[in-house]
């Protein structure tokens, strides 16, 4: 038995939009502690890892653990129908294999989505230790990705003790965005154990940065290792994206 309510349809829409940047199916695992989701995208280069503790929801009841696997297109279409002040209610119909989404507002509307067969294995998280941890305004990160995107299809991120630098080059020329860690900067925390620099594909970062809905973001990476980007959603929820690096041709 699973039942939850959420007062903000905006939060739900943001979650679905974030998942839709990388996935074609959403494989939620619901348990007593809350919602979670961890999946690789089809290219296996990126992962989305999300936790929504039970406290995010106003009512939350779940006895046991369930796999709820749904098509992203269908979820996105349903979320488009939500009005801004609708309250949402979620239920699982185990017998009919349906996930119910109710929108309670001027009218009470109910959608039932068919559950898909979940994958056999649950995705594990790669065990990563990072040399760099930086926290900044999400907007600064988004702008840096856009700036480098003007000339390049990939972005090199370099961190030393004082600054975080985004660079890229292409046929048209080069671009560089530097964030210094000081009072005035949009970079408000920079922790560097070892100087690091690593390259990532811009098309992933462009999609991921669109999904960031919070004011600030924490990025972590090491030289030629995956980058971890994390931001908060609702009260106590979080979404992380992990992206494998791009390397020079072997």
């Amino acid at each position: 038995m699973f039942h939850a309510t959420l007062d903000s349809s905006k939060t739900w829409k943001q979650i679905i939009d974030a998942l839709a940047t990388l996935l074609t199916e959403a494989h939620f695992i619901v348990s007593e502690t809350g919602f979670s989701l961890r999946q690789l995208d089809s290219s296996k280069a990126a992962m989305v890892d999300m936790t929504l503790p039970a406290g995010v929801f106003q009512e939350y009841k779940c006895d046991g653990e369930y796999d709820i696997c749904l098509g992203i297109d269908e979820l996105a279409k349903v979320s488009k129908r939500m009005a801004a002040d609708d309250k949402l209610e979620f239920n699982l119909d185990e017998a009919e294999k349906r996930f119910e989404i109710k929108m309670l507002g001027q009218a009470d509307r109910q959608f039932k989505l068919q559950l898909l067969t979940p994958p056999d294995d649950r995705t594990k998280k790669p065990s990563l230790a990072f040399d760099v941890k930086a926290e900044m305004f999400a907007d600064a990160f988004k702008q840096a990705v856009k700036d480098v995107g003007v000339v390049s299809s990939h972005i090199r991120i370099t961190a030393d003790g004082k600054s975080l630098t985004f660079t890229g080059e292409g046929d048209a020329g080069e671009a560089q965005v530097s964030l210094k860690s000081n009072e005035e900067s949009s970079l408000f925390e920079l922790n560097v154990k070892n100087k690091s620099n690593s390259m990532y594909a811009l098309n992933y970062l462009a999609e991921i940065s669109k999904a960031i809905t919070s004011d600030s973001i924490v990025i972590q990476f090491s030289t030629n290792k995956p980058m971890h980007m994390e931001f908060a959603i609702a009260e106590g929820g979080r979404i992380s994206f992990i992206l494998a690096p791009r390397v020079e041709r072997r």
Partner: protein
């Protein structure tokens, strides 16, 4: 082909055809050489103006309809009718059966089709006037239908080749048109075209699932027999071909993303009518690139369009129709083997053996190649060497033009970090 002479320059000046032929395909006069040498060659092959002598035209349409794009949303539309009766005219609209014919046979067949035309608003498809209603009825048929057309003028050859559509013969304004025969309508076609609550996309996919030939589906879409009742529209033939390739392709793309990756590199090759299509499958997530070269001069340009695994949202404006026409067979193949792969398609046309007759040849050559045997390789280098052996000139030039190739192997996966 003709080479512009070099005067006072060490730099090699490219010949006119090298710069523009692969974009112009003989009908935009981009090169400024008039008449187009390619067209002249085609014209010489058939004596077009002798085909029809008076204003009454009776014959069995394959069936075939042409909807022009010029002047949209007011377009010229009408059935294509040969001055011949009988079942054998079916072949005139069956490019899938042409790969073993000669260019001259194909041109002979297509140029005997008289293009009749009437100017109609594209919205008239929802509530068709009589001639259009009769044309739509004909389009439903899967076999040739005897028909009679009264023309306003004698057919004249106005010379249009297209990079996308099949060619046709002389054209004439149409007065009246009627069928002398009942159309033979397959059941799924009847069911889907009479459903006025079904969206065009769903209709096209339904026809595809029911095994209706793509040419037939494209015709139904073009004459405005698919879609929700009031929003049915005439669709220019050229757009309808690519739209159908793309709509079916998009639906297969979704399926392919769920399949496991292939484990080896695979190469499939097809050749016909002066065209070579080499298809290279890479063990990766779905990604696609269409590379095309019109062989002319020593260093012909190579054009490219590509998409990453999410597919593309905008039109492939460089390779245009050929992109969608080869993406579809590649996706069909992957669905059949239930595997996912990256795909590079190398399309090469020898203009001394080919005249612009439409993108169908790339689709059909690719389909035939993929229904045959391919070769497997364990490394990229070996598979590229195989590709090289089927193309004129060095494969290096193709690879230089390729985005997929330059990116391949550069993106690591998270699985390497567990």
């Amino acid at each position: 082909m003709t080479q512009t002479p070099l005067v006072g320059s060490k730099k090699r000046v490219t010949s006119y055809d090298e710069r523009v032929c692969s974009r112009c395909m003989g009908h935009r006069a981009l090169c400024g050489v008039k008449p187009c040498p390619l067209l002249m060659r085609a014209k010489a092959l058939v004596r077009i103006d002798d085909a029809v002598t008076n204003l009454t035209l009776t014959g069995s349409s394959p069936p075939s309809v042409f909807v022009g794009e010029h002047g949209y949303p007011k377009v010229l539309i009408g059935p294509l009718i040969p001055p011949i009766k009988g079942e054998e005219t079916a072949l005139m609209e069956r490019p899938d059966l042409w790969l073993n014919r000669t260019i001259d046979e194909i041109i002979g067949m297509r140029f005997s089709l008289v293009r009749t035309k009437q100017s109609l608003s594209v919205d008239s498809a929802a509530d068709p006037p009589r001639v259009l209603a009769e044309t739509q009825t004909m389009a439903l048929s899967e076999t040739p239908t005897d028909s009679e057309a009264l023309l306003l003028k004698r057919p004249r050859f106005t010379s249009v080749f297209s990079d996308t559509t099949l060619p046709y013969g002389p054209s004439a304004p149409l007065d009246t048109f009627k069928l002398d025969d009942n159309p033979k309508v397959p059941r799924p076609v009847d069911k889907i075209t009479s459903d006025t609550d079904l969206k065009a996309t769903e209709g096209i996919l339904g026809l595809y699932d029911d095994g209706i030939r793509q040419q037939h589906t494209t015709r139904l879409f073009s004459v405005g027999l698919l879609g929700e009742g009031k929003s049915r529209k005439l669709v220019p033939t050229k757009w309808s071909i690519t739209a159908v390739d793309d709509i079916i392709g998009k639906s297969l793309h979704k399926q392919v993303l769920r399949f496991p990756w292939i484990s080896d590199f695979m190469v499939y090759v097809g050749k016909a009518l002066g065209n070579t299509v080499v298809i290279l499958f890479l063990p990766s997530v779905w990604q696609f690139e269409g590379l095309e070269s019109w062989l002319s001069g020593p260093n012909p340009p190579i054009i490219s369009d590509y998409e990453w695994f999410r597919g593309r949202k905008n039109y492939a404006s460089i390779v245009v129709g050929a992109y969608y026409a080869t993406r579809l067979p590649a996706l069909e193949f992957l669905v059949k083997i239930r595997r996912q792969a990256g795909v590079m398609v190398f399309m090469q046309t020898d203009p001394t053996k080919w005249v612009p007759l439409g993108v169908w040849r790339f689709r059909e050559i690719a389909r035939r190649a993929l229904s045959g045997a391919g070769k497997r390789f364990s490394t990229l280098e070996e598979s590229v060497a195989e590709v090289d052996s089927h193309l004129s000139g060095s494969v290096e030039r193709w690879l230089k033009a390729s985005r997929l190739y330059s990116e391949f192997g550069t993106q690591r996966t998270l699985e390497e970090f567990y």
